[in-house]
Amino acid sequence: MVHVMVALLPGIAVHVALAGWQTLVVIGATTIAALVTEIACTRSARDLADGSATVTGLLIGLCLPASTLWFVCLVAAIIAVAIAKHAFGGLGNNVFNPAMAGYAAVLLAYPALVVEFDTVSGATALEQLAHRGSTTIEEVSTTQAFGAFGAANHEWVNLAFLIGGLYLIAVRVISPLLPLCVIAGIGITAFLLDDGGSSTSHGSPLFNWFAGGTMLSAFFIATDPVTSPSNRVGIVVYALGIGALAMLIRKYSSWPDGFAFAVLLANCFVPLLERIGRTRTSTS
Protein backbone atom coordinates (compact mmCIF):
# COMPACT_ATOMS: atom_id res chain seq x y z
CA MET A 1 0.00 0.00 0.00
CA VAL A 2 3.01 2.28 0.52
CA HIS A 3 3.75 1.81 -3.19
CA VAL A 4 0.20 2.88 -4.06
CA MET A 5 0.58 6.05 -1.99
CA VAL A 6 3.91 6.80 -3.66
CA ALA A 7 2.35 6.19 -7.09
CA LEU A 8 -0.43 8.68 -6.30
CA LEU A 9 2.08 11.45 -5.52
CA PRO A 10 2.64 12.75 -9.08
CA GLY A 11 -1.12 12.94 -9.61
CA ILE A 12 -1.61 14.80 -6.32
CA ALA A 13 1.22 17.18 -7.22
CA VAL A 14 -0.34 18.01 -10.60
CA HIS A 15 -3.74 18.47 -8.96
CA VAL A 16 -2.26 20.92 -6.47
CA ALA A 17 -0.32 22.76 -9.17
CA LEU A 18 -3.46 23.20 -11.28
CA ALA A 19 -6.19 23.75 -8.68
CA GLY A 20 -4.28 25.19 -5.75
CA TRP A 21 -3.84 24.32 -2.10
CA GLN A 22 -7.58 23.69 -1.63
CA THR A 23 -7.01 20.29 -3.24
CA LEU A 24 -4.78 19.39 -0.32
CA VAL A 25 -7.50 20.44 2.11
CA VAL A 26 -10.02 18.18 0.38
CA ILE A 27 -7.61 15.23 0.19
CA GLY A 28 -6.57 15.78 3.81
CA ALA A 29 -10.19 15.96 4.98
CA THR A 30 -11.20 12.71 3.22
CA THR A 31 -8.06 10.88 4.37
CA ILE A 32 -8.37 11.91 8.02
CA ALA A 33 -12.10 11.15 7.99
CA ALA A 34 -11.40 7.70 6.50
CA LEU A 35 -8.75 6.95 9.13
CA VAL A 36 -10.98 8.09 12.02
CA THR A 37 -13.90 6.05 10.67
CA GLU A 38 -11.61 3.00 10.36
CA ILE A 39 -10.57 3.35 14.02
CA ALA A 40 -14.19 3.85 15.07
CA CYS A 41 -15.33 0.75 13.16
CA THR A 42 -12.57 -1.58 14.34
CA ARG A 43 -12.18 0.05 17.77
CA SER A 44 -8.42 -0.28 17.41
CA ALA A 45 -5.62 1.36 15.48
CA ARG A 46 -4.16 -2.01 14.51
CA ASP A 47 -5.82 -2.21 11.08
CA LEU A 48 -4.52 1.20 10.03
CA ALA A 49 -1.22 -0.53 9.29
CA ASP A 50 -2.60 -2.21 6.16
CA GLY A 51 -3.03 1.25 4.60
CA SER A 52 -6.34 0.46 2.92
CA ALA A 53 -8.24 3.23 4.74
CA THR A 54 -5.56 5.77 3.81
CA VAL A 55 -5.73 4.82 0.14
CA THR A 56 -9.54 4.94 0.20
CA GLY A 57 -9.38 8.46 1.67
CA LEU A 58 -6.78 9.61 -0.86
CA LEU A 59 -8.78 8.26 -3.81
CA ILE A 60 -12.00 9.97 -2.69
CA GLY A 61 -10.09 13.22 -2.21
CA LEU A 62 -8.67 12.94 -5.72
CA CYS A 63 -12.13 12.34 -7.22
CA LEU A 64 -13.74 15.32 -5.52
CA PRO A 65 -13.11 18.79 -6.96
CA ALA A 66 -11.01 21.28 -5.01
CA SER A 67 -14.02 23.41 -4.17
CA THR A 68 -15.86 20.64 -2.31
CA LEU A 69 -17.27 21.63 1.08
CA TRP A 70 -15.73 19.91 4.09
CA PHE A 71 -18.87 18.09 5.22
CA VAL A 72 -19.28 16.53 1.78
CA CYS A 73 -15.75 15.15 2.17
CA LEU A 74 -16.69 13.71 5.56
CA VAL A 75 -19.88 12.09 4.26
CA ALA A 76 -18.04 10.50 1.35
CA ALA A 77 -15.26 9.09 3.53
CA ILE A 78 -17.60 7.83 6.24
CA ILE A 79 -19.90 6.10 3.75
CA ALA A 80 -16.87 4.56 2.04
CA VAL A 81 -15.22 3.11 5.13
CA ALA A 82 -18.16 2.47 7.45
CA ILE A 83 -20.85 1.30 5.02
CA ALA A 84 -19.07 0.09 1.88
CA LYS A 85 -16.27 -1.67 3.78
CA HIS A 86 -16.98 -2.48 7.41
CA ALA A 87 -20.72 -3.16 7.10
CA PHE A 88 -19.77 -5.88 4.60
CA GLY A 89 -17.28 -7.49 6.97
CA GLY A 90 -14.14 -5.39 6.72
CA LEU A 91 -11.14 -5.55 4.43
CA GLY A 92 -11.33 -8.46 2.02
CA ASN A 93 -15.08 -8.97 2.27
CA ASN A 94 -16.45 -5.81 0.71
CA VAL A 95 -18.39 -6.25 -2.51
CA PHE A 96 -18.15 -2.67 -3.73
CA ASN A 97 -15.08 -0.52 -4.14
CA PRO A 98 -15.23 1.64 -0.96
CA ALA A 99 -13.81 4.80 -2.54
CA MET A 100 -16.24 4.64 -5.47
CA ALA A 101 -19.20 3.86 -3.22
CA GLY A 102 -18.43 6.92 -1.08
CA TYR A 103 -17.87 9.13 -4.12
CA ALA A 104 -21.01 7.90 -5.90
CA ALA A 105 -23.05 8.50 -2.74
CA VAL A 106 -22.13 12.18 -2.55
CA LEU A 107 -22.39 12.49 -6.33
CA LEU A 108 -26.04 11.42 -6.06
CA ALA A 109 -26.78 13.21 -2.79
CA TYR A 110 -25.14 16.57 -3.53
CA PRO A 111 -24.87 16.80 -7.32
CA ALA A 112 -24.68 20.58 -7.30
CA LEU A 113 -21.82 20.60 -4.79
CA VAL A 114 -19.52 18.04 -6.37
CA VAL A 115 -19.94 18.46 -10.11
CA GLU A 116 -16.65 19.84 -11.14
CA PHE A 117 -16.08 23.33 -12.38
CA ASP A 118 -12.62 24.10 -13.49
CA THR A 119 -11.32 27.15 -11.65
CA VAL A 120 -9.77 28.49 -14.85
CA SER A 121 -12.24 27.87 -17.63
CA GLY A 122 -15.59 27.23 -15.99
CA ALA A 123 -17.09 23.93 -17.02
CA THR A 124 -14.72 21.05 -17.82
CA ALA A 125 -14.49 19.51 -21.24
CA LEU A 126 -16.57 16.45 -20.35
CA GLU A 127 -19.14 18.75 -18.73
CA GLN A 128 -19.38 20.81 -21.92
CA LEU A 129 -19.71 17.69 -24.06
CA ALA A 130 -22.51 16.37 -21.86
CA HIS A 131 -24.54 19.61 -21.94
CA ARG A 132 -23.66 21.20 -25.23
CA GLY A 133 -26.93 21.14 -27.19
CA SER A 134 -26.29 20.77 -30.89
CA THR A 135 -22.80 22.18 -31.29
CA THR A 136 -20.34 19.95 -33.14
CA ILE A 137 -17.21 18.59 -31.59
CA GLU A 138 -15.05 21.03 -33.51
CA GLU A 139 -16.95 24.02 -32.21
CA VAL A 140 -16.73 22.77 -28.64
CA SER A 141 -13.09 21.81 -28.83
CA THR A 142 -12.04 25.36 -29.65
CA THR A 143 -13.14 26.48 -26.19
CA GLN A 144 -10.68 26.78 -23.35
CA ALA A 145 -11.87 23.54 -21.80
CA PHE A 146 -9.86 21.54 -24.30
CA GLY A 147 -6.14 21.06 -24.15
CA ALA A 148 -3.51 19.90 -26.59
CA PHE A 149 -4.75 16.30 -26.82
CA GLY A 150 -7.19 15.78 -23.94
CA ALA A 151 -9.30 17.90 -21.66
CA ALA A 152 -7.61 21.07 -20.47
CA ASN A 153 -5.62 20.51 -17.27
CA HIS A 154 -7.08 17.02 -16.96
CA GLU A 155 -4.68 15.77 -19.62
CA TRP A 156 -1.76 16.54 -17.30
CA VAL A 157 -3.53 14.98 -14.32
CA ASN A 158 -4.18 11.86 -16.37
CA LEU A 159 -0.60 11.77 -17.57
CA ALA A 160 0.60 11.96 -13.95
CA PHE A 161 -1.66 9.07 -12.96
CA LEU A 162 -0.47 7.11 -15.99
CA ILE A 163 3.12 7.54 -14.78
CA GLY A 164 2.08 6.49 -11.25
CA GLY A 165 0.30 3.46 -12.70
CA LEU A 166 3.36 2.44 -14.72
CA TYR A 167 5.36 2.67 -11.49
CA LEU A 168 2.87 0.30 -9.82
CA ILE A 169 3.32 -2.16 -12.67
CA ALA A 170 7.11 -1.80 -12.48
CA VAL A 171 7.17 -2.65 -8.77
CA ARG A 172 4.71 -5.50 -9.42
CA VAL A 173 1.94 -4.24 -7.17
CA ILE A 174 -0.58 -4.55 -10.00
CA SER A 175 -0.53 -6.60 -13.18
CA PRO A 176 -0.71 -4.68 -16.47
CA LEU A 177 -3.67 -6.76 -17.74
CA LEU A 178 -6.46 -5.04 -15.85
CA PRO A 179 -5.57 -1.36 -16.51
CA LEU A 180 -4.77 -2.20 -20.13
CA CYS A 181 -8.21 -3.72 -20.59
CA VAL A 182 -9.91 -0.71 -18.97
CA ILE A 183 -8.04 1.59 -21.35
CA ALA A 184 -8.86 -0.72 -24.26
CA GLY A 185 -12.53 -0.73 -23.21
CA ILE A 186 -12.62 3.07 -23.24
CA GLY A 187 -10.68 3.22 -26.51
CA ILE A 188 -12.81 0.69 -28.40
CA THR A 189 -16.09 2.18 -27.23
CA ALA A 190 -14.93 5.72 -27.95
CA PHE A 191 -13.76 4.65 -31.41
CA LEU A 192 -17.12 3.02 -32.19
CA LEU A 193 -19.07 6.05 -30.93
CA ASP A 194 -16.84 8.58 -32.67
CA ASP A 195 -18.47 9.49 -35.98
CA GLY A 196 -15.93 12.07 -37.02
CA GLY A 197 -17.18 15.14 -35.21
CA SER A 198 -20.97 15.57 -35.47
CA SER A 199 -22.99 17.10 -32.66
CA THR A 200 -23.55 13.67 -31.09
CA SER A 201 -19.97 12.49 -31.24
CA HIS A 202 -17.99 12.33 -28.04
CA GLY A 203 -14.37 12.78 -29.02
CA SER A 204 -11.57 10.50 -30.12
CA PRO A 205 -10.17 7.62 -28.04
CA LEU A 206 -7.11 9.77 -27.32
CA PHE A 207 -9.28 12.59 -25.97
CA ASN A 208 -11.24 10.21 -23.77
CA TRP A 209 -8.10 8.56 -22.43
CA PHE A 210 -6.87 11.93 -21.24
CA ALA A 211 -10.13 13.37 -19.92
CA GLY A 212 -11.96 12.96 -16.64
CA GLY A 213 -10.82 10.20 -14.34
CA THR A 214 -9.68 7.64 -16.94
CA MET A 215 -6.14 6.94 -15.75
CA LEU A 216 -6.95 7.25 -12.03
CA SER A 217 -9.74 4.70 -12.46
CA ALA A 218 -7.81 2.35 -14.72
CA PHE A 219 -4.68 2.11 -12.57
CA PHE A 220 -5.81 2.87 -9.03
CA ILE A 221 -9.53 2.22 -8.65
CA ALA A 222 -10.42 -0.72 -10.92
CA THR A 223 -7.30 -2.60 -9.79
CA ASP A 224 -8.51 -2.91 -6.18
CA PRO A 225 -7.83 -6.63 -5.62
CA VAL A 226 -10.74 -7.12 -3.22
CA THR A 227 -13.45 -5.99 -5.61
CA SER A 228 -12.00 -7.30 -8.88
CA PRO A 229 -11.94 -10.91 -10.11
CA SER A 230 -8.81 -12.95 -9.48
CA ASN A 231 -8.83 -15.09 -12.62
CA ARG A 232 -7.65 -13.97 -16.04
CA VAL A 233 -10.92 -14.37 -17.93
CA GLY A 234 -12.77 -12.53 -15.19
CA ILE A 235 -10.26 -9.70 -15.17
CA VAL A 236 -10.55 -9.16 -18.93
CA VAL A 237 -14.37 -9.11 -18.89
CA TYR A 238 -14.47 -6.95 -15.76
CA ALA A 239 -11.98 -4.38 -17.06
CA LEU A 240 -13.37 -4.15 -20.58
CA GLY A 241 -16.80 -3.77 -19.01
CA ILE A 242 -15.68 -0.88 -16.82
CA GLY A 243 -14.15 0.92 -19.80
CA ALA A 244 -17.18 0.40 -22.02
CA LEU A 245 -19.70 1.31 -19.31
CA ALA A 246 -17.80 4.46 -18.36
CA MET A 247 -17.72 5.55 -21.99
CA LEU A 248 -21.42 4.82 -22.50
CA ILE A 249 -22.27 6.81 -19.37
CA ARG A 250 -20.10 9.69 -20.61
CA LYS A 251 -21.97 9.77 -23.88
CA TYR A 252 -25.56 8.82 -23.11
CA SER A 253 -26.20 10.15 -19.60
CA SER A 254 -26.26 13.60 -18.10
CA TRP A 255 -23.27 12.74 -15.91
CA PRO A 256 -20.06 14.13 -17.36
CA ASP A 257 -17.98 11.17 -16.21
CA GLY A 258 -19.10 7.63 -15.43
CA PHE A 259 -16.26 5.79 -13.79
CA ALA A 260 -17.78 5.68 -10.32
CA PHE A 261 -20.96 4.06 -11.62
CA ALA A 262 -19.09 1.85 -14.10
CA VAL A 263 -16.85 0.44 -11.36
CA LEU A 264 -19.78 -0.12 -8.98
CA LEU A 265 -21.83 -1.84 -11.70
CA ALA A 266 -18.89 -4.05 -12.65
CA ASN A 267 -18.37 -4.90 -8.96
CA CYS A 268 -21.85 -6.48 -8.99
CA PHE A 269 -20.67 -9.00 -11.57
CA VAL A 270 -17.47 -10.03 -9.80
CA PRO A 271 -18.94 -13.05 -7.93
CA LEU A 272 -20.31 -14.30 -11.27
CA LEU A 273 -17.00 -13.73 -13.06
CA GLU A 274 -15.16 -15.57 -10.27
CA ARG A 275 -17.47 -18.52 -10.78
CA ILE A 276 -16.96 -18.59 -14.55
CA GLY A 277 -13.18 -18.46 -14.04
CA ARG A 278 -13.24 -21.25 -11.49
CA THR A 279 -15.27 -23.67 -13.61
CA ARG A 280 -12.86 -23.03 -16.45
CA THR A 281 -9.81 -23.93 -14.36
CA SER A 282 -11.39 -27.00 -12.77
CA THR A 283 -12.45 -28.49 -16.11
CA SER A 284 -9.11 -27.88 -17.81
Binding site: D50, G92, S230, T281
Partner: protein, 351 residues
Protein backbone atom coordinates in the same frame (compact mmCIF):
# COMPACT_ATOMS: atom_id res chain seq x y z
CA UNK B 1 31.63 -18.59 7.63
CA UNK B 2 31.15 -22.34 8.03
CA UNK B 3 32.88 -23.50 11.21
CA UNK B 4 32.37 -27.16 11.90
CA UNK B 5 32.25 -28.15 15.56
CA UNK B 6 34.32 -31.14 16.70
CA UNK B 7 32.83 -34.40 15.59
CA UNK B 8 32.97 -37.85 17.12
CA UNK B 9 35.69 -40.01 15.54
CA UNK B 10 34.76 -42.13 12.50
CA UNK B 11 32.63 -45.11 13.47
CA UNK B 12 33.47 -47.28 10.49
CA UNK B 13 36.49 -48.33 8.49
CA UNK B 14 37.16 -46.07 5.49
CA UNK B 15 36.14 -47.81 2.28
CA UNK B 16 37.99 -47.69 -1.04
CA UNK B 17 34.77 -47.24 -3.00
CA UNK B 18 36.26 -47.39 -6.49
CA UNK B 19 37.05 -51.07 -5.96
CA UNK B 20 34.19 -51.92 -3.57
CA UNK B 21 31.14 -53.94 -4.56
CA UNK B 22 27.81 -52.06 -4.77
CA UNK B 23 26.40 -54.20 -1.95
CA UNK B 24 29.12 -53.16 0.50
CA UNK B 25 28.59 -49.48 -0.38
CA UNK B 26 24.83 -49.91 0.12
CA UNK B 27 25.47 -51.67 3.43
CA UNK B 28 27.63 -48.76 4.60
CA UNK B 29 24.98 -46.18 3.59
CA UNK B 30 22.40 -48.28 5.42
CA UNK B 31 24.36 -48.59 8.67
CA UNK B 32 25.29 -44.90 8.62
CA UNK B 33 21.54 -44.17 8.57
CA UNK B 34 21.63 -41.69 5.70
CA UNK B 35 18.26 -40.24 4.68
CA UNK B 36 17.24 -37.73 2.02
CA UNK B 37 18.51 -34.44 3.40
CA UNK B 38 16.53 -32.27 1.00
CA UNK B 39 13.56 -32.53 3.32
CA UNK B 40 11.74 -35.75 2.52
CA UNK B 41 13.86 -37.98 4.75
CA UNK B 42 13.38 -41.02 2.50
CA UNK B 43 15.99 -43.70 3.41
CA UNK B 44 18.74 -43.32 0.83
CA UNK B 45 19.55 -47.03 0.82
CA UNK B 46 15.99 -47.84 -0.31
CA UNK B 47 16.23 -45.33 -3.14
CA UNK B 48 19.59 -46.69 -4.28
CA UNK B 49 18.44 -50.32 -3.98
CA UNK B 50 15.44 -49.44 -6.14
CA UNK B 51 17.76 -47.72 -8.63
CA UNK B 52 20.00 -50.80 -8.69
CA UNK B 53 17.01 -53.10 -9.17
CA UNK B 54 15.36 -51.15 -12.01
CA UNK B 55 18.60 -49.98 -13.66
CA UNK B 56 19.66 -46.34 -13.67
CA UNK B 57 20.38 -44.07 -16.62
CA UNK B 58 20.84 -40.75 -14.81
CA UNK B 59 22.00 -39.76 -11.35
CA UNK B 60 21.15 -36.15 -10.50
CA UNK B 61 22.65 -34.14 -7.66
CA UNK B 62 19.89 -31.77 -6.64
CA UNK B 63 21.41 -28.44 -5.66
CA UNK B 64 18.35 -26.51 -6.80
CA UNK B 65 17.51 -24.89 -3.52
CA UNK B 66 14.50 -22.74 -4.16
CA UNK B 67 12.82 -22.34 -0.83
CA UNK B 68 12.76 -18.62 -0.04
CA UNK B 69 15.57 -17.50 2.24
CA UNK B 70 17.34 -20.88 2.36
CA UNK B 71 20.92 -21.16 1.12
CA UNK B 72 22.36 -24.02 3.16
CA UNK B 73 22.98 -26.30 0.14
CA UNK B 74 24.55 -23.42 -1.76
CA UNK B 75 27.01 -22.77 1.08
CA UNK B 76 27.80 -26.47 1.30
CA UNK B 77 28.50 -26.65 -2.43
CA UNK B 78 30.73 -23.58 -2.33
CA UNK B 79 32.81 -24.99 0.49
CA UNK B 80 32.78 -28.74 -0.22
CA UNK B 81 31.99 -29.08 -3.91
CA UNK B 82 34.65 -31.80 -4.37
CA UNK B 83 33.05 -34.02 -1.69
CA UNK B 84 29.60 -33.51 -3.18
CA UNK B 85 30.94 -34.52 -6.60
CA UNK B 86 32.75 -37.50 -5.05
CA UNK B 87 29.45 -38.55 -3.43
CA UNK B 88 27.89 -38.34 -6.88
CA UNK B 89 30.69 -40.53 -8.25
CA UNK B 90 30.17 -43.07 -5.44
CA UNK B 91 26.46 -43.32 -6.28
CA UNK B 92 27.25 -43.54 -10.00
CA UNK B 93 29.77 -46.33 -9.34
CA UNK B 94 27.33 -48.12 -7.06
CA UNK B 95 24.49 -48.00 -9.63
CA UNK B 96 26.74 -48.63 -12.63
CA UNK B 97 25.73 -45.34 -14.22
CA UNK B 98 28.01 -42.74 -15.80
CA UNK B 99 25.43 -40.07 -16.69
CA UNK B 100 25.99 -37.76 -13.75
CA UNK B 101 24.32 -34.34 -13.52
CA UNK B 102 24.58 -31.54 -11.00
CA UNK B 103 21.55 -29.24 -11.08
CA UNK B 104 21.87 -25.80 -9.53
CA UNK B 105 19.78 -22.64 -9.60
CA UNK B 106 22.33 -19.92 -8.90
CA UNK B 107 25.01 -18.60 -11.25
CA UNK B 108 27.69 -18.37 -8.56
CA UNK B 109 27.72 -22.13 -7.88
CA UNK B 110 27.59 -22.78 -11.63
CA UNK B 111 30.65 -20.60 -12.09
CA UNK B 112 32.55 -22.35 -9.28
CA UNK B 113 31.71 -25.69 -10.87
CA UNK B 114 32.90 -24.56 -14.31
CA UNK B 115 36.23 -23.32 -12.92
CA UNK B 116 36.89 -26.57 -11.03
CA UNK B 117 37.41 -28.61 -14.25
CA UNK B 118 35.30 -31.66 -13.38
CA UNK B 119 35.01 -33.49 -16.66
CA UNK B 120 32.59 -36.38 -16.19
CA UNK B 121 29.78 -34.49 -14.48
CA UNK B 122 27.38 -32.22 -16.34
CA UNK B 123 26.22 -29.06 -14.61
CA UNK B 124 22.76 -27.75 -15.48
CA UNK B 125 21.35 -24.43 -14.36
CA UNK B 126 17.57 -24.22 -13.88
CA UNK B 127 15.39 -21.25 -12.98
CA UNK B 128 14.89 -20.52 -9.29
CA UNK B 129 11.10 -20.86 -9.21
CA UNK B 130 10.08 -22.20 -5.78
CA UNK B 131 8.78 -25.42 -7.37
CA UNK B 132 11.94 -26.39 -9.24
CA UNK B 133 13.66 -28.00 -6.27
CA UNK B 134 11.01 -30.72 -6.20
CA UNK B 135 12.42 -33.83 -7.89
CA UNK B 136 9.61 -34.50 -10.37
CA UNK B 137 9.61 -30.86 -11.50
CA UNK B 138 13.39 -31.01 -11.79
CA UNK B 139 13.26 -34.22 -13.87
CA UNK B 140 10.66 -32.58 -16.10
CA UNK B 141 12.87 -29.55 -16.73
CA UNK B 142 16.14 -31.54 -17.11
CA UNK B 143 15.03 -34.54 -19.19
CA UNK B 144 11.52 -33.49 -20.27
CA UNK B 145 10.20 -36.70 -18.75
CA UNK B 146 7.04 -36.98 -16.67
CA UNK B 147 7.10 -39.50 -13.82
CA UNK B 148 3.59 -40.75 -13.02
CA UNK B 149 2.48 -39.91 -9.47
CA UNK B 150 2.17 -43.60 -8.62
CA UNK B 151 5.86 -44.37 -9.32
CA UNK B 152 9.20 -43.28 -7.91
CA UNK B 153 11.71 -41.68 -10.30
CA UNK B 154 14.14 -44.52 -9.43
CA UNK B 155 11.69 -46.93 -11.09
CA UNK B 156 12.06 -44.93 -14.30
CA UNK B 157 15.86 -44.91 -14.40
CA UNK B 158 16.48 -41.59 -12.69
CA UNK B 159 17.91 -41.22 -9.19
CA UNK B 160 17.77 -37.72 -7.70
CA UNK B 161 19.73 -37.06 -4.53
CA UNK B 162 20.14 -33.83 -2.61
CA UNK B 163 23.69 -32.43 -2.53
CA UNK B 164 23.80 -32.62 1.29
CA UNK B 165 22.88 -36.32 1.06
CA UNK B 166 25.72 -36.85 -1.43
CA UNK B 167 28.11 -35.06 0.89
CA UNK B 168 27.02 -37.37 3.74
CA UNK B 169 27.41 -40.41 1.47
CA UNK B 170 30.96 -39.33 0.61
CA UNK B 171 31.89 -38.89 4.27
CA UNK B 172 30.28 -42.16 5.32
CA UNK B 173 31.81 -44.27 2.55
CA UNK B 174 35.22 -42.66 2.08
CA UNK B 175 35.96 -41.60 5.67
CA UNK B 176 33.61 -43.76 7.75
CA UNK B 177 31.66 -40.96 9.44
CA UNK B 178 28.07 -41.35 10.56
CA UNK B 179 26.27 -38.07 9.71
CA UNK B 180 25.76 -36.15 12.95
CA UNK B 181 25.62 -32.59 11.68
CA UNK B 182 24.52 -30.64 8.62
CA UNK B 183 24.51 -27.11 7.21
CA UNK B 184 21.38 -25.23 8.26
CA UNK B 185 20.30 -21.70 7.38
CA UNK B 186 19.74 -20.44 10.90
CA UNK B 187 17.97 -17.07 10.87
CA UNK B 188 19.47 -16.27 7.46
CA UNK B 189 23.00 -17.38 8.39
CA UNK B 190 24.46 -20.72 7.28
CA UNK B 191 26.24 -22.86 9.85
CA UNK B 192 26.95 -26.44 10.80
CA UNK B 193 24.44 -27.64 13.38
CA UNK B 194 24.50 -30.96 15.25
CA UNK B 195 21.38 -33.05 14.89
CA UNK B 196 19.07 -33.15 17.91
CA UNK B 197 19.88 -29.53 18.72
CA UNK B 198 16.74 -27.98 20.18
CA UNK B 199 15.24 -25.05 18.30
CA UNK B 200 15.15 -23.01 21.49
CA UNK B 201 18.96 -22.80 21.28
CA UNK B 202 18.60 -20.32 18.41
CA UNK B 203 15.75 -18.28 19.84
CA UNK B 204 16.82 -15.16 21.63
CA UNK B 205 13.39 -13.84 22.52
CA UNK B 206 9.83 -15.04 22.94
CA UNK B 207 9.00 -15.05 19.23
CA UNK B 208 7.71 -18.20 17.54
CA UNK B 209 10.19 -20.27 15.56
CA UNK B 210 9.67 -22.28 12.40
CA UNK B 211 11.45 -25.54 11.68
CA UNK B 212 12.25 -24.95 8.02
CA UNK B 213 12.10 -21.80 5.91
CA UNK B 214 9.86 -18.88 6.77
CA UNK B 215 7.43 -19.98 4.05
CA UNK B 216 7.47 -23.76 4.24
CA UNK B 217 8.53 -24.50 7.81
CA UNK B 218 6.31 -25.85 10.55
CA UNK B 219 5.68 -23.89 13.73
CA UNK B 220 7.72 -25.01 16.74
CA UNK B 221 5.46 -26.13 19.59
CA UNK B 222 8.38 -26.12 22.01
CA UNK B 223 9.81 -29.57 21.33
CA UNK B 224 11.22 -29.29 17.79
CA UNK B 225 14.80 -30.39 17.17
CA UNK B 226 17.10 -30.24 14.18
CA UNK B 227 17.33 -33.52 12.28
CA UNK B 228 19.09 -34.55 9.08
CA UNK B 229 16.22 -33.22 6.95
CA UNK B 230 16.16 -29.71 8.44
CA UNK B 231 17.58 -27.13 6.05
CA UNK B 232 16.53 -23.94 7.82
CA UNK B 233 15.35 -22.36 11.02
CA UNK B 234 13.41 -19.11 10.80
CA UNK B 235 11.32 -16.73 12.83
CA UNK B 236 7.59 -16.97 12.33
CA UNK B 237 6.07 -13.82 10.88
CA UNK B 238 2.56 -14.68 12.04
CA UNK B 239 1.91 -11.45 13.86
CA UNK B 240 2.06 -9.53 10.58
CA UNK B 241 -0.81 -11.48 9.01
CA UNK B 242 -3.66 -9.38 7.62
CA UNK B 243 -6.99 -10.18 5.99
CA UNK B 244 -7.12 -11.90 2.58
CA UNK B 245 -7.83 -9.31 -0.10
CA UNK B 246 -8.61 -11.87 -2.84
CA UNK B 247 -5.86 -10.66 -5.16
CA UNK B 248 -5.46 -14.15 -6.64
CA UNK B 249 -1.65 -14.05 -6.71
CA UNK B 250 -1.45 -17.38 -4.86
CA UNK B 251 -3.60 -19.01 -7.57
CA UNK B 252 -1.40 -17.52 -10.30
CA UNK B 253 1.91 -18.59 -8.78
CA UNK B 254 0.96 -22.16 -7.78
CA UNK B 255 3.02 -24.63 -9.86
CA UNK B 256 0.19 -27.17 -9.63
CA UNK B 257 -2.45 -24.53 -10.51
CA UNK B 258 -4.36 -25.22 -7.32
CA UNK B 259 -7.17 -22.86 -6.23
CA UNK B 260 -5.18 -21.73 -3.18
CA UNK B 261 -7.47 -18.85 -2.32
CA UNK B 262 -10.57 -21.05 -2.39
CA UNK B 263 -8.73 -23.59 -0.23
CA UNK B 264 -7.90 -20.88 2.33
CA UNK B 265 -11.51 -19.67 2.31
CA UNK B 266 -12.79 -23.20 2.79
CA UNK B 267 -10.42 -23.73 5.73
CA UNK B 268 -11.34 -20.43 7.36
CA UNK B 269 -15.08 -20.99 7.02
CA UNK B 270 -17.07 -23.16 9.39
CA UNK B 271 -18.15 -25.57 6.66
CA UNK B 272 -15.19 -26.83 4.59
CA UNK B 273 -15.90 -27.72 0.98
CA UNK B 274 -15.49 -31.43 0.29
CA UNK B 275 -14.76 -30.99 -3.42
CA UNK B 276 -11.44 -29.27 -2.65
CA UNK B 277 -10.06 -32.39 -0.96
CA UNK B 278 -7.98 -33.67 -3.94
CA UNK B 279 -6.42 -30.20 -4.25
CA UNK B 280 -5.18 -30.37 -0.67
CA UNK B 281 -3.56 -33.72 -1.39
CA UNK B 282 -2.00 -32.43 -4.62
CA UNK B 283 -0.12 -29.61 -2.85
CA UNK B 284 3.55 -30.47 -2.43
CA UNK B 285 4.24 -27.56 -0.10
CA UNK B 286 6.69 -25.52 -2.15
CA UNK B 287 5.67 -22.31 -0.37
CA UNK B 288 5.41 -20.16 -3.51
CA UNK B 289 1.98 -18.90 -2.42
CA UNK B 290 3.27 -17.85 1.00
CA UNK B 291 6.03 -15.83 -0.62
CA UNK B 292 3.76 -13.81 -2.93
CA UNK B 293 0.90 -13.23 -0.46
CA UNK B 294 0.65 -9.44 0.05
CA UNK B 295 -1.20 -9.97 3.33
CA UNK B 296 1.52 -12.34 4.61
CA UNK B 297 -0.97 -15.10 5.39
CA UNK B 298 0.71 -18.40 6.39
CA UNK B 299 -1.19 -20.22 3.61
CA UNK B 300 0.82 -23.40 4.00
CA UNK B 301 -0.24 -23.78 7.64
CA UNK B 302 -3.87 -23.66 6.52
CA UNK B 303 -3.24 -26.11 3.69
CA UNK B 304 -1.42 -28.57 5.95
CA UNK B 305 -4.31 -28.31 8.38
CA UNK B 306 -6.66 -29.02 5.47
CA UNK B 307 -4.60 -32.06 4.47
CA UNK B 308 -4.81 -33.45 8.01
CA UNK B 309 -8.54 -32.82 8.16
CA UNK B 310 -9.05 -34.43 4.77
CA UNK B 311 -7.22 -37.59 5.80
CA UNK B 312 -9.06 -37.63 9.14
CA UNK B 313 -12.32 -37.28 7.25
CA UNK B 314 -11.38 -40.19 4.99
CA UNK B 315 -10.52 -42.37 7.99
CA UNK B 316 -13.82 -41.43 9.59
CA UNK B 317 -15.75 -42.29 6.44
CA UNK B 318 -13.98 -45.62 6.20
CA UNK B 319 -14.76 -46.37 9.85
CA UNK B 320 -18.37 -45.37 9.34
CA UNK B 321 -18.67 -47.63 6.33
CA UNK B 322 -17.14 -50.49 8.29
CA UNK B 323 -19.54 -49.86 11.15
CA UNK B 324 -22.54 -49.78 8.82
CA UNK B 325 -21.50 -52.99 7.10
CA UNK B 326 -21.05 -54.68 10.47
CA UNK B 327 -24.50 -53.55 11.58
CA UNK B 328 -25.97 -54.79 8.35
CA UNK B 329 -24.20 -58.12 8.79
CA UNK B 330 -25.46 -58.43 12.36
CA UNK B 331 -29.07 -57.62 11.47
CA UNK B 332 -28.92 -60.06 8.60
CA UNK B 333 -27.45 -62.69 10.87
CA UNK B 334 -30.11 -61.96 13.47
CA UNK B 335 -32.95 -62.13 10.98
CA UNK B 336 -31.55 -65.38 9.59
CA UNK B 337 -31.39 -66.78 13.10
CA UNK B 338 -34.93 -65.65 13.83
CA UNK B 339 -36.16 -67.17 10.61
CA UNK B 340 -34.42 -70.42 11.41
CA UNK B 341 -35.85 -70.47 14.93
CA UNK B 342 -39.36 -69.74 13.68
CA UNK B 343 -38.97 -72.46 11.11
CA UNK B 344 -37.84 -74.82 13.84
CA UNK B 345 -40.81 -73.86 16.04
CA UNK B 346 -43.20 -74.31 13.19
CA UNK B 347 -41.84 -77.69 12.25
CA UNK B 348 -42.07 -78.82 15.88
CA UNK B 349 -45.71 -77.77 15.97
CA UNK B 350 -46.42 -79.69 12.88
CA UNK B 351 -44.53 -82.61 14.23
Amino acid sequence: MLERTTRPPPEYEPLDWSSAAPTSILARIDEAGIVGMGGAGYPTVSKLASGLHYGTEHVVANGVECEPGVHADRSLMRQHLSQVIEGLHIVGHCLGCDQLTLAVADRETYRIFQSSDIADVKCEIVSDHPANGEERTLIKSLFDQTIPPSAYPSQHGIVVLNVATLFAICEAVRDGYRPTDRVVTVLDEDRWVDVNTSLSAFCSDESQMRLGSVATGTIDRGDATIDLTTNAVAHDRGKLTRACIHCGWCDDVCPRSLPVEAMLRSQQSTSPQDDLEPHFDACFECGACVVVCPSEIPLLDWIRQGKLEASARRLKQRALKRFERRNQRLTQHLSEETDAREARIRTRHEW
